[in-house]
């Protein structure tokens, strides 16, 4: 399991939700939050591709955030 902490001012919560749905075939996800971060625990389903799954998931979230014009206003 890897914990990814996405800063609320930099990443969109909705983007994370959408990314989790899209990547559910490749990893298990557990979501929580802190005042500053969206926290996503990622457990890849394929050990050999773990780095790739985690990295591409992170990229996907960033991409969706940029497509939306940035993180939502707090």
């Amino acid at each position: 399991m890897t914990e990814l902490r996405f800063h609320r001012e930099l990443y969109s919560g909705e983007a994370i939700d959408e990314a989790v749905k899209t990547w559910s075939n490749f990893a298990e996800f557990s979501l929580s939050e802190t005042p500053e971060h969206w926290v996503v625990e990622v457990t890849p389903k394929h050990e050999a591709a773990a780095r790739q799954i985690i990295g591409e998931f992170g990229n996907y979230v960033l991409g969706l955030t940029v497509d939306r014009g940035g993180a939502e206003a707090s």
Binding site: L10, Q52, L62, G63
Partner: protein, 173 residues
Amino acid sequence: MSTDNQTSFSDIPEAVASVSATDRSVSINLDAEVYPLQAVYGAAYIFLDRCFVFIDRPAEGSYRVTLSAKQAVEESEALRALVGEFANELLSCAWRHQITQDNRVAIETVTVQAIAGAMGEPSLDDLADFDFTDEALDDPLGIAQSWEEKHGRKSPGEDKAEGDAATSEEASA
């Protein structure tokens, strides 16, 4: 991303860029005063095809961008090149952000004329499909504003209403 085993490049201050020896990623610290967030997004986006990109906010007033090359790179030269390319792209994005703001009217004018010139006038069918309830375009020059809205002066209707109210107040005083 781990911050253990950080090393640096000989020609870049460690405060600006550092290398993580464990997972061969580079982290670049950015002054948020110098680089607007839109520029950080712009530069980061361009690296999505060859790096895993992560952005964080270690402290108020700064960003940290971590780049991990997708293809395994062992040599520090390759990581150094990533930092350099990212920094160049970031500078380009930051400068463009400023230029676009400064020249917004000129850019919009040419774009509108070019697109309008290419599209031509709408047909009756196009107008029938158009959603007139949609929000109006931005109005950066305030052309759609009335003089009163722009300069804070009341419209004749408001003036009269206030005049009537003042008269009735005086009358009742």
